[in-house]
């Protein structure tokens, strides 16, 4: 069995700030990480590899620096890594990205047939969850999104049985292979690479594929192939409510002052509370 895992190197969104004036994301100095959702996908693929001796190939489209992210995947246990990189790919939206990834997967499939494609349910920078489905559509693979568990996987009958999070419940779906699986968060935990894995990752060559290697239509890649228009960018407005200091010599006095201030600011609150208390009193009297 051959499993492809699509990952993305993303800025660590926990450390990102929005420029106060231009409202653009300030990426300078922000460290990059593997999209956390993709790690659930990789770990799921590696667990299948542990059980069935499948081969795991990791792919990413990105700048040359994405080499770091791929090497981490090799350390975790992926067998091969491919960096799809070319200047013409930059500025891609989800449409152009899934086109390029699908082309790369076709190239990979021609070399060694792909049975399963794993990816995270979405990235933390774009949050669209469109690339996985985009790949499945283009390749004509079955699509299984928001998968929380792989119950069964049979390479001979080429079937997969998964649990999928749906609104109001869990769906259990059976599908034919090849399929694209997008993994839900919290489904597993990425392993701690062993030392031989670290050595392999440091030494192994990461293959690089450019536009010629995957044979793409240049009108459909990068900025040119991206119809998405960002019409407006805005940051959330900071709350106008200011904190106030509660004074008082004793805790009781402080509590008193706090309640007074609350009632002064929200007059209806006092009314509602008094009404409620009266009601409680009446009920108490009845009993």
């Amino acid at each position: 069995m051959h499993i492809a895992v699509c990952i993305k190197q993303v800025p660590d969104s926990a450390q990102i700030r929005v420029h106060p004036v231009t409202n653009t994301i300030m990426r300078q100095g922000v460290p990059t990480i593997i999209n956390p959702y993709d790690l659930f996908a990789l770990e799921e693929a590696l667990r299948i590899k542990d059980r069935t001796a499948a081969k795991v190939t990791v792919l990413t489209m990105g700048p040359p620096q994405a080499d770091d992210a791929l090497r981490k995947c090799l350390a975790f246990g992926a067998d091969e890594a491919v960096l799809i990189t070319d200047k013409v790919f930059s500025g891609a939206d989800t449409l152009a990205t899934s086109y390029v990834l699908a082309a790369a997967l076709k190239t990979l499939d021609a070399r060694e047939p792909v049975d399963l494609v794993f990816t995270g349910k979405q990235t933390i920078d774009g949050d669209t969850a469109q690339v996985g489905p985009g790949i499945a559509t283009r390749l004509g693979y079955q699509l299984l999104t928001y998968v929380s568990k792989i119950r069964e996987l049979d390479a001979d009958s080429r079937r997969i049985l998964v649990e999928r999070r749906a609104e109001g419940g869990v769906q259990v779906l059976e599908s034919a292979l090849p399929a694209v699986v997008t993994m839900l968060e919290g489904t597993n935990e990425i392993r701690f690479a062993d030392m031989p894995g670290m050595f392999r990752a440091a030494r192994q060559e990461v293959e690089r594929w450019n536009r010629d290697a995957i044979g793409v239509d240049l009108a459909k890649v990068g900025l040119k192939g991206s119809p998405t228009v960002v019409a407006q960018v805005f940051g959330p407005k900071p709350k106008a409510v200011k904190a106030f200091r509660v004074a008082g010599d004793t805790p009781a006095a402080m509590a008193e002052a706090f309640v007074d201030r609350l009632f002064a600011d929200y007059p209806h609150l006092e009314e509602a509370m008094l009404e409620h208390l009266e009601q409680v009193d009446r009920q108490g009297a009845k009993e």
Binding site: F192, A193, M195, M198, F199
Partner: protein, 433 residues
């Protein structure tokens, strides 16, 4: 099991210098770093001293990420809240190439340096902590154990470049535990300002930079110093004091830093800056008398891990790089001569250090840590007196100059007896001669 000629533990200036020099000479080198990438765990002001790096990578200026060259140095004595007494040295020759000192941002610089190490042929593995040294029955160091599964790796020699805490040597019983009395704790912020603002506030242009070293009562009588350095689009501001003093006075480093930032001499320079990074680090400032054993059977120790810091001159990374280079050159020499890495043969490393500025400078100032430790008033009394004297002298108020000068001197002898003054002068001379 993997085996290398040399394992270098740590990817700071000393580790990188050692790994680079060894790999260039064709030895098989593994460098292990616990940080996510080289530089993520490293903290420095930071000033790069060109000479030490030039001796390792002569053309470093062509590719290294340098912020500004030091065109002007200021020495400031700050009291807690009001005054600043200082000296400025600006020299047009400092702005002629090749420059002697640069400000750098270590996260970028270390990444660059590590790239050079990799290009030279060393295998660099990050996010991997070495937990202990492997020894053979005779006690010779034969490799390292990492925290990872199947994590033992062998080597003919291990270079300990694991930084100020020096945990590896301590765990292996090669050295005593570092003492709080020998450690300074420094905190630092990198704050952003537009380039034009920095250049106008500090009166500099192009790649010129200003370095301000700060002492005085801003440390609340503790042994320590502060600094303010100009980068291209940011300032580095920090302060450090001896750990034992901080513990005694129960002052937190961030309180000290806030005090420094609010000081009227500093505040206008950093006005409007946005904090980008906050970091803290230990600095081994025990000097010559705190140096541990520097080599043994199959091991060498370099950089902060060995305590190579010249606290008086605020130098450390240059001593680190030089010690890393010496360690590498020692091993290369032995390998070429077909000699094993025994303690007797590795003594050549110590001889190289002894014959260089590293040991000469450490020896010269060996009495300073003790002097300041035993006479902490030196850092309080004199700066304050200098400030008070300057204020008196510069306040025009109708008092005859002779009376005024007499009164100022009287203040000094009131604060510190004539004998005390002579004693301090003698102690100073002895410690700095």
């Amino acid at each position: 099991m993997e085996k290398f000629d040399v394992i270098v533990v740590g990817a700071g200036p000393s580790g990188n210098a050692a790994a680079y020099t060894l790999a260039r000479a064709g030895l098989s080198v593994l460098q292990l770093e616990r940080g996510e990438s080289p530089g993520t765990k490293n903290v420095q002001g930071a000033i790069l001293y060109a000479d030490a790096l030039e001796k390792i990578i002569p053309d470093f200026r062509d590719s290294a990420p340098l912020e500004r060259h030091v065109a002007e140095q200021r020495m400031w004595l700050l009291d807690e809240n009001q005054s600043c007494t200082g000296a400025t040295y600006r020299d047009a020759r400092f702005s002629q190439e090749p420059h002697n000192r640069y400000t750098i941002i270590r996260a970028r610089f270390d990444r660059w340096f590590s790239g050079k190490v990799k290009d030279a042929g060393a295998l660099v593995i990050c996010e991997t902590t070495v937990t202990e040294l492997l020894r053979d029955p005779a006690g010779k160091v034969i490799g390292v154990r990492t925290e990872r599964a199947q994590g033992d790796i062998l080597a003919d020699c291990v270079i300990l470049a694991d930084g100020a805490n020096a945990l590896l040597g301590e765990r292996a019983g090669l050295r005593p535990r570092v003492k709080a009395e020998d450690m300074a704790l420094a905190v630092k912020e990198v704050i952003f300002l537009p380039r034009e603002t920095i250049e106008s506030r500090f009166n500099i242009a192009d790649t010129q930079g200003v370095v301000i070293e700060i002492a005085g009562n801003i440390t609340h009588g503790m042994v320590g110093t502060g600094f303010l350095y100009t980068n291209r689009d940011s300032l580095a501001i920090g302060i450090g004091c001896m750990l034992a003093d901080m513990k005694r006075q129960s002052l937190t480093p961030c309180q000290l830093l806030e005090g420094l930032k609010r000081h009227p001499a500093v505040q206008p320079l950093i006005e409007g800056a946005e904090m980008k990074e906050y970091s803290a680090h230990l600095i081994p400032e025990g000097g010559y008398r705190a140096l541990p054993q520097l080599y043994g059977e199959g091991w060498l120790v370099v950089g902060d891990s060995a305590g190579f810091v010249n606290a008086v001159h605020r130098e450390g990374s240059n001593l680190a790089m030089t010690s890393g280079r010496f360690a590498a050159e020692t091993l290369i020499g032995l390998r070429q001569a077909g000699k094993p890495f025994t303690a007797a043969n590795l003594a050549a490393y110590k001889r190289r250090l002894d014959d260089s500025f590293v040991m000469a400078d450490l020896k010269k100032y060996q009495g300073v840590p003790e002097l300041l430790h035993d006479h902490p008033h030196i850092l309080g009394t004199y700066p304050r007196f200098l400030g008070d004297a300057a204020r008196e002298a510069l306040t025009v108020d109708g008092e005859p100059k002779r009376d005024k000068q007499k009164r100022i001197l009287g203040e000094l002898t009131r604060k510190r007896s004539v004998l005390g003054l002579l004693g301090d002068a003698y102690r100073f001379w002895r410690a700095f001669r």
